[in-house]
Symmetry: C4
């Protein structure tokens, strides 16, 4: 991983400093770029909320070979991790590799290591087209995320997403705040529950809604027919001053009470972070920036190495907290 990261540092110069800990401090306000919006408080809160969680170490038990795999929404994942949807290599990451190489490498690396990657959406259209191509290359093993466009654009994009052969389609509804898109004449908007239900019913795939930060909207998402939600503040890139996702996750997963899958992103960097999110009720996590860095720095091989590292860290953390299965993590591994 060291050479992957050094390579990324070189290639992303001016866009990402590939800091020792990716915490939003060196890239405050860099949107476009890899930073958080405004004061980057939402980004920083994501990282801090995870840092603030402490673990109870336990070693009087017999789980020396824990099972890291999970089944979620019909997917069997070797570790409970998905590569989050991030696109826009050119304006966010420096553009030293192509959008297509970027997203194909990422999805293939995920597939090779028994997990799954998501693809992003945006303007220009090749972001979402590259994603669709990559999913097809992987025989449908990928999750396309579509932004909350207005009527026509939305339905055309959803249709194209279905054609990739994917089993799950997602929408990052929190992108509704991206005023930049509106200025480009491509408005994204909030959706009321009725409209959301119509969209979900029209899609020929399971549906994930990304951008849930409150228990009430989690329940609304379930009412609208989602199979899964992603607790997310969009990596701190749409609204400043959000709490960290690890601050809101427990209340949301309790409100959901098993009625849909609960994913979460925001500040997850290591296998230890993954375990903390599972303890708070997530079924799996999404990881964003670190996967982008691994992809830029090492293409498919970089992605695979990062997944190996995550699995090693998660395994060690499970052994030292007495956790037998990633599919059932006791909240009491958290201190207090």
């Amino acid at each position: 991983m060291k050479s992957v990261r050094e390579n990324a540092k070189e290639l992303m110069k001016g866009y990402c400093k590939v800091c020792p800990v990716c915490n939003g401090k060196a890239c405050v306000g860099e949107v476009p770029g890899m930073g958080g919006l405004g004061t980057a408080a939402s980004f920083k809160n994501n990282v801090k909320a995870l840092e603030d969680l402490k673990l109870n170490m336990r070693t009087i038990h017999e789980f020396s070979e824990p099972d890291t795999s999970v089944n979620i929404m019909g997917l069997k994942l070797d570790i409970p991790v998905l590569a989050a949807p991030i696109g826009g290599v050119e304006f966010n990451m420096g553009g030293r590799i192509s959008e297509q190489d970027y997203i194909s490498s990422k999805l293939k690396g995920c597939a090779a290591k028994g997990i799954i990657g998501c693809t992003g959406d945006g303007v220009p259209d090749f972001i979402h087209e590259s994603g669709n191509s990559a999913i097809k290359e992987c025989n449908g093993h990928g999750i396309p995320f579509i932004k909350p466009w207005e009527e026509d654009e939305l339905h055309i994009k959803l249709k194209k997403a279905e054609e990739t052969g994917c089993k799950i389609i997602g929408m990052d509804i929190d992108a509704a705040g991206l005023i930049t898109l509106k200025k480009m004449g491509r408005p994204v908007t909030p959706k009321c529950i009725r409209k959301l239900r119509g969209i979900i019913e029209s899609v020929n795939a399971d549906f994930i809604l990304k951008g849930i930060m409150t228990p009430d909207e989690a329940r609304m998402a379930i009412d609208a027919g989602v199979k899964g939600i992603v607790v997310s503040n969009h990596g701190g890139r749409v609204l400043d001053s959000c709490p960290g996702t690890a601050e809101v996750l427990l209340d949301i997963s309790r409100a959901v009470a098993g009625q849909c899958s609960v994913l979460v992103d925001g500040g997850v960097r290591t296998g230890l972070d993954v375990l903390k999110m599972l303890a708070l009720g997530a079924d799996a996590v999404m990881i964003g920036r670190p996967f982008s860095i691994a992809t830029i720095g090492g293409l498919q091989e970089g992605v695979e190495k990062y997944i190996d590292q995550l699995k090693g860290e998660l395994t060690q953390a499970m052994v030292l907290t007495g956790t037998e299965k990633a599919s059932f993590v006791d909240i009491r591994i958290l201190f207090r």
Copy 2:
């Protein structure tokens, strides 16, 4: 705004560093100047109290075109923002533009963008005279603030303020602590409720009292006959160690319970900050230093650009918190 800020940085050299976030850290103790008194704790607490508030992001709704306008004290404002009364260009801001240009530009920019600006008071007299002229230039669309002088000086100044044609007159009663004025032979003093009632009754305009930091004084202000109060610690320039205004606002707005308008200043920098103050019960906010910087850096145009920026930020924040109208903001947009 970028060139406005760069210009201001040049013109205010030695008086204000025009920091990325205006938080009182680089100008500790610089009174006169743009800083906070003493350790600048009151200034810093203002900013920190706002930073500490987190927002619940919500996007499952239909408010994609929120209404930012409010009606307050007979004024229709396009956004719930007033330019706070700050004068003394020469000794506080470097003196590279004249007091008259400064205050006229500010009031005109506000008027052009559908809001209203306030004018300051002090020694020498041209501060308050420039303000009065500017209000007349705007056909009375401005709010003159008078310091709590002793008898004669006070009544003469109030009379001159009335003559500007303004509808509302304010007093920043917290200026009572400005020992410098006393040393110049121009004492400012606290006023008991009886004296305050006499002053308010004598004034032929609606009256706002600025400098309320406790629920008990808010109730006293209402008893004395004010139409509005401004929760304010004078930007941290009269008493060190005050709490941030966002720390005391909720208790005060609850105590007021609709009996007068509640304004607040202190650390408001962005549209997001405006929304937080509204969630705590303010009807509108005043913004001080950023308006001075915008005025110095770009005159009327700078002021207008800053107001545009605030409106954009406020709109985006309203969309992403599911807030339909600035005139009714649900406290539940605040996290916890």
Copy 3:
């Protein structure tokens, strides 16, 4: 005060940096010297405990000319401040002025401004002898503090202290931890209540006990016959990890319930700090390092200027919190 401080900075080079805020950070562990012991946590906690207290600003009242004076232990003080006992100019402060000039200037400056100074004790003997001379020069207007020596040394020193004509004698019992003195063959020790009562009865003056940090020891001091206590952790110079005195003061002053005078030192720098301590129940405060700096930097004139500054700050803070008399400060001037 500016030139006094600059002068002190020059004369105390290597011993004290005369920092903008004297908070113990630049002189960690410098004992001898002006710092706090070990990690200097006790020193820093003193300053931080005061910083953490916030004030309720109030200006709807009529107290524009507050009364700063107090009567305490038979003394009428123009402001509720005493210069704390600190000696050892040579090894603590750089030795650029003599011990005698130092302590005489300090006591005279205090007397000239209507307050009173204390003198210190230690090894070598000229510390305590200079103090005694200075008190005599002031016709007994000074308070000698004696360390808790073993039998003979203690009684000889108390006797000499009485001979200065002073009305009050103090003991800094917390000096019991100074192992350096023990190594010099001059042991200082804790005293049980019985022994303390014997000492106090033997002294022909009112007795103050300095170094009380808990309510139980405050009550024991009263039982032993003191007229006053000083809540103090010895400026953080004997035991690391003590709470700040402002953290313990309220509980102690409530436990004392008027049965003796309550003084406090630790981190008091400004008139605002004085007012905060009074709000927590102190009858007056002692100030240490700032008086040493003022004395080194400006001799009697420096001391007088510092007292003037304190009075100005205290007056302004009283006006802005609605405090009429320093002899009765309402705890509700503190926020929360």
Copy 4:
């Protein structure tokens, strides 16, 4: 101690900076080396948890010559301190002295000053063999710690440990997370209570289990037959994000309720830290990195000087908190 530390700084260059306060900040992630794993949060939390504890100073009492000695597990210790088991001079400390010189000097220094040292284990085998030799040189006055190996390796090592003539043998069960050892083909694993009981019964010495961080595992250790536990997160070297040991100690010592001896390590640097741990219910503490530094920097003499320093600091802290005996420390010496 100053020259010992300077010498260590030179000899450990690249491995340890011998910081003024050893707090884990300068060596984040340096494993191997002297740092904490990952973000070093566990290491830093150890130090911070102790720093956060404040002490009640008390000097109205008669304990000027406190008794620092304790009896624990059949050992009479002059101060309640053990040198913790740390080995691997070559890869952790720079390798400028030999493993044998290192561990022999440490044990002899401890013995000379009336306390006892522990020896470590690991790969390569000479770590544990040097430890055994050193204990024999001290006629059995040392405590060998064995890692939680799988069956054969474990029993062979325990047998060799017994042959040193030691009275107590320990196991650092938290080493179960050291994946590096597994990769070397020498797996260490958690042990269930049944297996642990078997191990303890097979050993011909009293047994200490090191690495307890929760009350439930403390009770399990007692059920398995230990004579003592060590509350420890392995100096933050096996699991990131653990609480500081001083955060969990009180709950654990209350759960143990005198059924076994309670030791603790983690962040203890000074005699003051020792006293804080005793107040939280420890019978004695282990100190790790500072003993390694003292050993590298001054061999047996360095160790002895460090113990003298600890005794001086502990004595002074006991005098100033009114603590008569280290074998009974009142929790009320802690503030709040």
